[in-house]
Assembly symmetry: C2
Homo-oligomer: 413 residues x 2
């Protein structure tokens, strides 16, 4: 990752200013020269921990590409990062965000294949929600001409995850059936589209009732997330389903395993059930952990079933599988160019609107992907705005949940 001028956020600069032993001159001069806007998570907690602030601009190290960011993807995982509800969370302050699209501004050594001006999309191990990002060239992919920046930021994580789960972990083939939770979300919509590239695949989608009208055409059957979906699926397919894709965890793990047909595969790729409120709830966390069925392999043997876990970010940033991901991306870009798949963008938000965007994901209001559009100006608020920016002050302990009554309307589709 790019070294960011000794973490020169305004916060750290302030600390340095009050600490004469730390040579503030150097910091000040480099900050003057190269600054950028970024969303910073000051600490784990509620929406009030997020603010837009100025940070020192990163420069690319060897093997890295520097990208002038146009759009960033917002994922449910970003909420869990904000709450600190993930394994090994980074030490705040941190710039969240794992994916972006933009234009190559400069390149480090050994980044063959990339040139200044290239339109690219990229995975980033944090730091995506900023005007400029540096990330290893292994995580950068050239965008097709027909793809917009918003589409590109909605493409990488969702489609790569959906593709790898369906075709690498499971083995989706003609005539199979797939059950997908959060069918209206970014991954859910990618799963539905990819399933339609294989003949005669039945997709059981589970989503909030409010999304049914919007996504009904993308799936074969749709169920309300509040009904007993096991009964509904069994009415239609008494034998169960071939693939279950679960981003909820908790009690859905046991249900998913039960619904599998012989040789079927259950894949856990998220744990959004662990998020019940604005801040981390140890009760929800413990409940999800407790409810998730520990699986006895001997039972899998008797039932001929497969259970898998899939985390694309771990695969990329911990497990070093970037060349495999690259090959998957190549296949996906072919499908895009053949117009067989197309990312669904729910809405575009300015960096300053990140709190409202997060609240929308939390409330399961989105159909498709939420995008942070770096060049977008905030839509005027309906009520008085207390959104924190670096200019607006440095209060860390703002009471949580005070944004409930404020809403930016309308968001842009």
């Amino acid at each position: 990752m790019a070294k960011e001028g000794a973490d020169m956020t305004e916060e750290t600069q302030f600390m340095i200013d009050t600490n004469p032993g730390k040579e503030p001159e150097i910091v000040e001069s480099s900050c003057e020269a190269k600054e950028m806007r970024a969303v910073v998570l000051a600490g784990f907690g509620g929406l009030n921990k997020l603010r837009v602030t100025k940070k020192a601009m990163p420069e690319p190290q060897e093997g890295e590409v520097k990208i002038r960011v146009k759009a960033c993807g917002l994922n449910f995982l970003d909420l869990m990062v904000r709450q600190g509800s993930i394994d090994n969370p980074p030490k705040p302050p941190v710039v969240p965000g794992f994916e972006c699209s933009g234009i190559v501004e400069s390149v480090g050594e050994n980044t063959a294949g990339f040139e200044i001006g290239d339109r690219v999309m990229a995975f980033v191990n944090y730091n995506a929600w900023a005007e400029v990002v540096c990330t290893p060239a292994d995580f950068v992919y050239k965008m097709p001409e027909e793809m917009s920046f918003a589409e590109a930021a909605a493409f990488s994580l969702n489609f790569v995850a959906a593709y790898m789960m369906l075709f690498e972990v499971a083995n989706l083939r003609e005539g199979m059936s797939v059950l997908v939770h959060s069918a209206g979300g970014g991954v859910g919509q990618a799963v539905a589209q990819l399933c339609s590239t294989v003949p005669n695949v039945t997709v059981f989608g589970i989503a909030s009732c409010s999304k049914h009208a919007a996504i009904r055409d993308s799936v074969t059957h749709i169920f309300d997330r509040n009904v007993d979906y096991m009964q509904e699926v069994k009415k239609i397919s008494p034998e169960g389903v071939d693939i279950v894709l679960d981003c909820l965890c908790g009690e859905n793990t046991g249900k998913g395993l039960t619904l599998l047909r012989p040789l079927g595969t259950y894949i856990l790729y998220g744990a959004s059930n662990m998020v019940t409120g604005e801040t981390k709830s140890f009760f929800s966390f413990a409940k999800s952990w407790w409810q998730v069925e520990k699986v006895n392999p001997i039972k899998l043997y008797e039932e001929n079933k497969v259970i898998a876990g899939f985390s694309l970010l771990n695969l990329l940033f911990k497990h070093g599988k970037c060349s495999l991901v690259k090959s998957v991306m190549d296949k996906l870009l072919c499908l895009f160019e053949q117009k067989k798949i197309k990312p669904v963008v729910d809405s575009l938000w300015a960096l300053e609107e990140v709190k409202e965007a997060m609240q929308r994901i939390h409330d399961r209001g989105n159909v498709g992907k939420l995008i942070l559009d770096v060049e977008k100006s905030p839509t005027p608020l309906m009520a008085s705005d207390s959104t924190e920016t670096s200019e607006a002050g440095e209060e860390e302990e703002e009471p949580e949940g005070d944004n409930d009554s404020k809403e930016r309307m309308p968001f842009i589709h």
Copy 2:
């Protein structure tokens, strides 16, 4: 399954003879007309529970094929059946055996594709170890001309299981690595051969030292089953392996999962560790059950791993996947005809030698498959023979383990 004339084994006939209410005349007349030799398991327990006896010959029902059996496969699972160490064991007396080869002797209605005289191999839900077997046509496959009956009986279960685990459950591809326990056994040798059909696959085989010379050429690396194989594998491949095939269970499950690379698949396909002596040991059973790691799906998520169970017999006889198995068999027969795979026969045994054959599997003495050759005469014993046949008496409570000093030599390779 074929109805076998009201279970007219000699045992039941004896019972009937002493029970005048059960119309013995009918039984006697049909026994006179059509009898066959079969291995019968009188009850769960040691080797003394097995005997060769006369049974009424089955006749094919609708959809069934009647096969004059030439050779039967003997699997580790048959030991577990004998001990009663399986889930839902059948009620004895029962004729063991799940696979055979032979010649079609007659066919029931709706068995299109099969004619009298066809050379076939077949799966049977018990009852294979007999001179005649009836089984649904869905489980019967025509043999290639170049395949011997012994090879056919060594082919079906081992190669179908190995193929489905490598290519249906896991997704074996060029450059991957596979760890297989019991590499010298029937499935182990099938796995090794199938891996050699994919470029650049590394096979780590684990086997008893005594088999190393015989199987060294079939695998890339070979380890003694008594050494710390995790250390040895990690020395060669610090990242671990892509596929682990485990028929042992117990502590090997946890080790196998630990050895997996990201996106790797652990497959449990047997639990031979539950067998430690001649009869079922509740201690071994409980120990294996206890040692086998219950898997938390959240851990699989963090580690990008897959865990699966595979039971071909359940797939066929409980889960109704015979058309999928048929398509796999077609692919395997192509590979056989291209001389890319060839079943390894360890030794041939007469039906009357089933105890010695079972002891050989129990002692892990075999390289490849043990075959019961229905037309073979027993090899004279080295010591006095107390092998039970129906002629030799009806003692049920013969002390166990009394066959240790007796050995038929040599068995035929």
